[in-house]
């Protein structure tokens, strides 16, 4: 084999081919046909390359063949991986193997089966390998040296250009020595030395930076015994001196500008920038990667326009070139902005060329067209690997083609190449400098933004402890050993926290987790666990996060050491940006960091501004409910006690009368005994010798009667005392009642929220709808500071959103139309909130076109609801639009016309016990009035009887109570009226309102008349009598009894009996009769929103999930959510949404896996899947696309973009489905 390597490089190609063909033969003999094929394909490719004019260097080829030899050597150790590597080797663009993807795949399969066969026939493979390895290793050493010689000689030339003659000498000496060595044969080649040699270019690189030290290293290498350079010590010393003194900085520009030969330029690019020299290789920072992705997108767009061109068709060529030129201009601007100056210059040059092509379109040949396409492909190839130092050469080399209308001078090309070279390191570096160095107070602030979304904040507060715990657990595991999985867990937690904190707007958490995530990403990509120092800092950070989380839940101020911790993390992040993850032993810098951060802590403690925020305690809603219920019970018990005392006082009064009577009787008895001396005669005369008048004679009767009189007085006094005590007790109970009522009100207030909390949602929905309908409109809220029950407000959001979307879509006219009608260009929608008794009243007005009665009439006629000549008032026509599924529009729009009209809004309002009224003036706008009752906990009520039923009438709407004598009830026809103070009121009986039969025979008399205000009229309601009046606590009638119209609820009276509490205005509004004899409709009737499109949102972050859920439900979707792919897959078994939105990274099953899973399921395979993620790289995007994701959005996503995309995808899916059904 020796002779192969001794062949001169010019003829070398044949020999390389021969070696490979020999390998092919041996593979075939051993039965490895895949390997044989691979070798033959490669041999063929190398032959082709030889014929290629552009291919000039055997050194390239030798490197290639050496690598191939190594691959064959590895084949038996790791057949699977090697087979893959072989294929990707063969796919290398510089080999230009004309094989399609599937052919490559087949070859790969064959290699796999070879590998499997090898298990059975290990020996023959072993033999083959030995041969291959021998050849390859000889070949590879020889090749390396040849390659190095060429590089070194070129370096020598290059340094001569720069005037670095010492360096030129060093290079020439080395090259000469190597040639000698090669001529002596491979046996003399020292493998270790070869390795050392490969670092030569690096050595020169470092020499340029530090001449003294570099010179020493260069001389040391030259003195290597293997080289056998015949120079004396003094000669070496001279060379060292020369090297150390000749310093220049502008080497590269000089060298290139001095050259005339384009090929040489390219050669420089190939060799000087060879990754092997270790000069410029390195990974790309994330931000740089994102910029590259953006540019790639633009480039793809340029390619798209170019591909649209059909050669020969002048119009298509002109348009295509025009579009491509414009797009390229954008690309150039963008490239310039993000720091690819060189690329921007090249692009500008290409734009000029395109302009020339356009000017002279007849000369735009297919060669020129191919040139453009090839150039853009080169750009697309260049961008992902821009950080590799030889990356830009193709773009620049491509410009030398003669087909270009405008050429570029060699100097210009060289300058651009230099520029591109510089960028290869700078673009990455920009992001490193982007990281701040010092933590500021603002960076640790936990202050909530003014327009904080409380719902999202609540979610964050729920999530925070969970993720913080996950983070700190993972970090702790890392500290005590741990694995890469822990890094991943911690990174994910940090990522989620960052996302949530950003969504809510809590900077302190967002900033800290941002830097933490970067550190952990660095750990993951370098596959290093954090060292002790870094782990300690991470633990500090996790503690800080925990304190921040607690702080948010309680006092709201940042933990005192937050700034120090953030500084520590920043220091680490900055250090890692520069140096990568340090090895675990290196901790000395950290000590400094800690010391300095210790100082900062003190400073922060002094400087930290006092942030005072209200303290919050989070309590389960159920607990508040219980508290509320118990306070209600207390009120009931209190009123029972009140009732009891009232009775006792009454009894006490009776008792006092009795005592008075007793006292009186005692006095009478005493008098009788005294005056009439009934008994004196019988006792007094006995042997005293005195007349009765001479001396009072007393006996037992006297004593007894007197004692009785005294006892009667005592009893009376005691009863008075007891009465006083009862009065006191009554007062105490009164106080207690007030307290308990206060308690209930306070508990009730915990459920109250300001209407303003839904304002951002309404405004956002308005903006979205306006953008989608391309109309202008503003929303004004009036009375939004009113506090109402949170549940009621939540239930009102949907109807309000719908009214709002409806108003913009159907009501407000386009700007032109409005201006033509003399209206302001921007429409005005106002929602006015007001409290009306126990109702919340919302007046939704718009100044749009109002209801089109003609269209309603036409639609009603079309549906057969109305005869063409039938007379109908506007009010009656208005009722039509409240009918289910009634729409005057023929085409449903994306914005509001999803088959859900005002009827659904009305159904929702009625479900809540409210009412909806419409008013509209054509051309001036529409007003919708909603009245929704607020939940009542207590009311003042009048007790009365209706037939055999005892009822409590809430004072709601009662304007006046009059006794029947005050007015006169007159009957006109079958209707009754009340005449009172000269005013006539319509009258009705409560009995009739409640459909209670009147069994009394005699003419009814009414003890009392209630004047009830309902909407804008007053009605007299006749009742038998008012038995009592009191505050009552309203209770729900339990789980099983639904809303009964006219009932607010029921109450327990002091005696323990239960009575319904009536809402008279409601009874008056809709007189209703319970259906008797007809069974209730089944409960599982369709919900009004069953027509809405459905979406499944899959995201592991609660806040992200909820934010999306809110966005979609505001946009009129029915939304279900899942926490990860597994849960989503489970839901999909039962529920088939119209569209799926998923995150990429999730535990258990990620978004890619979920998409892939969906595509395998027969039923849901065509379901549109949209991915929303913070990942922006092309790689992720491509992976998603391959898994079957229909649309890929990188955060942040514009709401409208998402909604429009969803709509388009859903329509496409529906079309496909339709076609399938027809098919």
């Amino acid at each position: 084999m020796k002779n192969i390597f001794q062949i001169t490089p010019r003829n070398g190609v044949d020999d390389f081919v021969a070696v490979i063909e020999e390998l092919a033969d041996q593979s075939a003999q051993a039965g490895y046909y895949g390997l044989q094929d691979a070798n033959l394909v490669l041999a063929e490719a190398i032959r082709e390359l030889q014929l290629d004019e552009g291919f000039q260097s055997d050194a390239d080829l030798s490197a290639l063949v050496a690598a191939w030899g190594q691959l064959i050597e590895k084949f038996s150790d790791a057949p699977d991986q090697t087979a893959k590597a072989m294929i990707s080797y063969l796919r290398h663009p510089c080999l230009k193997i004309p094989m399609a993807d599937d052919e490559f795949n087949m070859l790969e399969q064959q290699l796999f089966s070879d590998a499997n066969a090898a298990v059975d026939a290990n020996e023959s493979l072993g033999e083959l390998e030995t041969n291959a390895a021998d050849k390859a290793s000889d070949l590879s050493e020889q090749c390396l040296i040849n390659e190095q010689i060429i590089i070194i000689e070129q370096l020598a030339d290059q340094t001569a250009y720069e005037g670095l003659y010492g360096l030129q000498d060093a290079n020439l000496l080395l090259a000469e020595a190597l040639r000698e060595m090669v001529n002596e044969g491979p046996a003399n080649v020292d493998a270790d030395f070869i390795k050392a040699l490969s670092g030569w270019a690096g050595l020169i690189g470092s020499y340029r930076e530090e001449p003294k030290r570099g010179a020493e290293a260069i001389i040391n290498l030259l003195r290597h015994p293997v080289l056998k350079i015949s120079m004396g010590d003094d000669e070496f010393a001279m060379l060292r001196e020369q090297l150390a003194t000749e310093v220049s900085v502008n080497e590269f520009a000089q060298e290139v500008s001095g050259s005339d030969d384009p090929a040489e330029l390219e050669t420089f690019a190939v060799h000087h920038g060879n990754p092997k020299d270790g000069e410029h290789t390195g990974s790309v920072s994330r931000v740089a990667q994102e910029l590259v992705d953006l540019l790639l997108l633009e480039a793809e767009q340029v390619r798209f326009y170019l591909q649209g061109i059909s050669i020969g068709d002048n119009e298509s060529m002109l348009n295509g070139l025009q579009d491509a030129g414009e797009e390229l201009e954008r690309f150039a601007n963008m490239a310039k902005t993000v720091g690819f100056e060189g690329l921007a210059q090249v692009s500008t040059h290409i734009i000029l060329n395109i302009q020339r092509f356009i000017e002279d379109i007849d000369d735009f040949t297919s060669e020129r067209y191919d040139l453009l396409l090839e150039w853009i492909s080169q750009v697309q190839e260049y961008l992902p690997s821009f950080h590799e130092s030889n990356a830009g050469q193709l773009i620049v080399a491509g410009l030398t083609d003669e087909q270009w209308a405008l050429s570029m001078s060699f100097e210009e090309l060289a300058a651009i190449l230099l520029q591109i070279r510089t960028e290869s390191t700078e673009v990455g570096n920009q992001t490193e400098t982007a990281r701040v160095e010092t933590a500021t107070d603002e960076d640790i602030s936990l202050a909530l933004p003014d327009d904080v979304n409380h719902e999202l904040l609540d979610l964050l507060l729920q999530e925070l402890p969970v993720h913080t715990r996950q983070f700190s657990e993972a970090v702790q595991r890392m500290q005590s050993g741990g694995s890469e999985q822990d890094v991943e867990v911690a990174q994910r937690a940090a990522h989620t926290l960052k996302g949530s904190a950003n969504t809510v707007g809590i900077k302190g958490i967002a900033v800290l987790t941002h830097h933490l995530e970067d550190i952990l990403i660095a750990c993951a990509s370098e596959q290093k666990l954090p060292g002790r120092g870094l782990a300690n800092s991470l633990i500090n950070a996790s503690d800080c996060l925990e304190s921040m989380s607690e702080a948010l839940l309680s006092s709201g101020s940042s933990p005192h050491d937050a700034k120090a911790v953030l500084q520590e993390i920043l220091d680490w992040a900055n250090r890692i940006d520069k140096e990568g993850i340090p090895d675990s032993e290196v901790d000395e810098n950290l000590a400094e960091t800690q010391i300095s951060s210790g100082n900062t802590t003190e400073a922060v403690e002094k400087l930290a501004p006092e942030q005072s925020q209200a303290t919050f305690v989070r309590v389960a809603a159920e607990q508040v409910e219980t508290l509320f219920r118990i306070s209600g019970e207390s009120i009931i018990l209190n009123s029972q006690a009140h009732e009891s005392i009232r009775r006792m006082k009454k009894q006490m009064q009776t008792m006092q009368i009795q005592f008075a009577l007793l006292q009186q009787l005692g006095a009478e008895l005493e008098q009788l005994i005294d005056l009439k001396d009934l008994t004196g005669r019988s006792f007094g005369a006995v042997g005293t010798g005195f007349d009765a008048l001479e001396m009072d004679q007393y006996n037992e009767l006297h004593t007894a009667s007197r004692r009785m009189a005294e006892a009667a007085i005592d009893a009376k006094e005691i009863s008075q005392d007891v009465g006083k005590e009862l009065d006191k007790m009554y007062e105490v109970l009164d106080d207690q009642q007030r307290l308990v009522i206060n308690v209930q009100e306070v508990v009730m207030q915990t459920r109250l929220v300001s209407i303003a909390t839904i304002a951002p949602r309404l405004q956002r929905s308005l903006r979205q709808t306006c953008r989608m309908t391309e109309k202008q409109s503003e929303l004004v809220l009036v009375g939004e500071n009113i506090l109402i029950d949170g549940d009621t407000l939540n239930a009102m959001v949907d109807p309000l959103m719908h009214i709002l979307r409806n108003a913009v879509d159907h009501g407000i006219e386009s700007t032109d139309e409005r201006l033509a009608q003399g209206k302001l260009s921007s429409g005005r929608i106002s929602f006015e909130f007001d409290r009306e008794g126990n109702n919340i009243l919302v007046r939704c007005r718009d100044d749009g076109r109002g209801l089109d009665y003609g269209a309603i009439r036409a639609a009603a006629e079309k549906r057969g609801l109305l005869k063409p000549d039938e007379d109908m008032s506007e009010e009656e026509l208005r009722r039509f639009i409240l009918r289910p599924n009634f729409s005057s529009r023929t085409v449903s729009t994306q914005t509001s016309g999803r088959g859900v009209g005002l009827d659904a809004v009305r159904a929702q309002i009625v479900n809540m016990g409210g009412t909806l009224t419409l008013d509209s003036v054509q051309g001036q706008g529409m007003t919708i009035e909603l009245r929704v009752p607020l939940p009542l906990s207590m009311t003042y009520a009048l007790l009365t009887h209706v037939g055999r039923y005892r009822v409590a009438i809430a004072n709601k709407g009662i304007a006046q109570i009059v006794y029947s004598a005050a007015g006169e009830v007159v009957i006109e026809g079958d209707k009754e009226f009340l005449l009172l103070d000269g005013v006539t009121y319509p009258a009705t009986r409560l009995m009739d309102l409640l459909h209670v039969p009147d069994h009394r025979k005699s003419q009814r008399t009414y003890g009392a008349i209630l004047l009830v205000q309902n909407d804008d009229k007053t009605t007299a309601v006749l009742i038998d009598a008012i038995n009592d009046s009191m505050d009552v606590v309203i209770k729900s009638m339990g789980h099983y009894i639904g809303k009964i119209p006219g009932y607010i609820g029921a109450t327990i009276l002091g005696d323990g009996t239960v009575t319904p509490v009536l809402d008279i205005p409601e009874l008056l509004r809709v007189p209703i009769r319970a259906v008797k004899g007809v069974y209730a409709e089944p409960i599982d009737m369709d919900e009004p929103d069953s027509m809405l499109p459905t979406a499944l949102v899959v995201d592991d972050s609660l806040s992200q999930r909820r934010a999306l859920e809110q966005l979609l439900s505001d946009a009129g979707y029915r939304v279900r959510t899942a926490r990860d792919g597994i849960e989503a897959a489970e839901i999909l078994v039962q529920f088939q949404p119209d569209v799926i939105l998923t995150d990429l990274e999730m535990p258990r099953m990620n978004g890619i896996e979920l998409a892939a899973h969906i595509r395998t399921q027969e039923k849901i395979r065509s379901l549109p899947v949209i991915m929303i993620t913070s990942r922006t790289t092309q790689k992720h995007r491509q992976m998603a696309e391959e898994a079957g994701v229909n649309a890929y959005f990188s955060k942040p996503v514009r709401d409208e973009d998402l909604l429009v995309k969803m709509q388009i995808l859903m329509e496409l899916a529906a079309e496909k489905k339709g076609k399938r059904l027809i098919g």
Partner: protein, 183 residues
């Protein structure tokens, strides 16, 4: 009351000597498994109520009638501060109102999920295993029929197993007809 009975049943099954269990197992005979269930009589029918539910028989408790509701809702009672709706399934079965003085109230579940039923006699404890499943349902009002899970027969009495919650939620839902405005 219910709780005691429930315990008794549990005890009864637990009291079976261990030896018997093992013997039964050895002989490979089907194990005598007691599946207790409350049986309540309403009109001509019997209904089964799971013993897993908290149940009690109420005595001397006032039922407060409500105007303008379905006839099968007799009213509401105050059970230790909770409002409990009272259902009369006889009205649903169209078997006419029973004599409330002779009937008893049977409360199922507790707190706000509690409901009460008029029953004609004290509940019995039945063993579901001894009940014979009917192949065909007896003719029943359509509404009730929808909620029947199973029907059994034992000593001439029909026992129905119903979807408890669904049935009573449907019965408690207020169906009404809107009239023209009275005024």
């Amino acid at each position: 009351m219910q709780e005691n009975k429930f315990k008794e049943i549990e005890l009864a099954s637990a009291d079976v000597p261990a030896a018997q269990h093992s013997e039964a197992a050895v002989r490979d005979e089907p194990e005598a498994k007691v599946d207790p269930v409350f049986g309540i009589h309403i009109g001509s029918l019997g209904f089964l109520v799971s013993t897993a539910k908290y149940c009690e028989v109420l005595d001397k408790i006032q039922v407060n009638p409500l105007p303008n509701i379905h006839p099968w809702v007799s009213g509401i009672l105050n059970l230790r501060g909770n409002l409990v709706p009272v259902f009369d399934l006889r009205m649903l079965l169209e078997e006419g109102a029973g004599d409330n003085k002779k009937r008893r109230l049977f409360a199922v579940d507790r707190d706000d999920k509690a409901l009460a039923l008029w029953i004609d006699s004290f509940p019995e404890i039945k063993d579901r295993a001894t009940l014979q499943a009917l192949k065909e349902l007896p003719s029943l009002p359509q509404l009730l029929q929808r909620f029947i899970i199973g029907a059994y027969e034992h000593q001439g009495q029909i026992w129905l197993d119903v979807k408890f919650e669904d049935l009573f939620k449907t019965l408690g839902r207020h169906q009404y007809e809107t009239e023209e405005m009275a005024i």
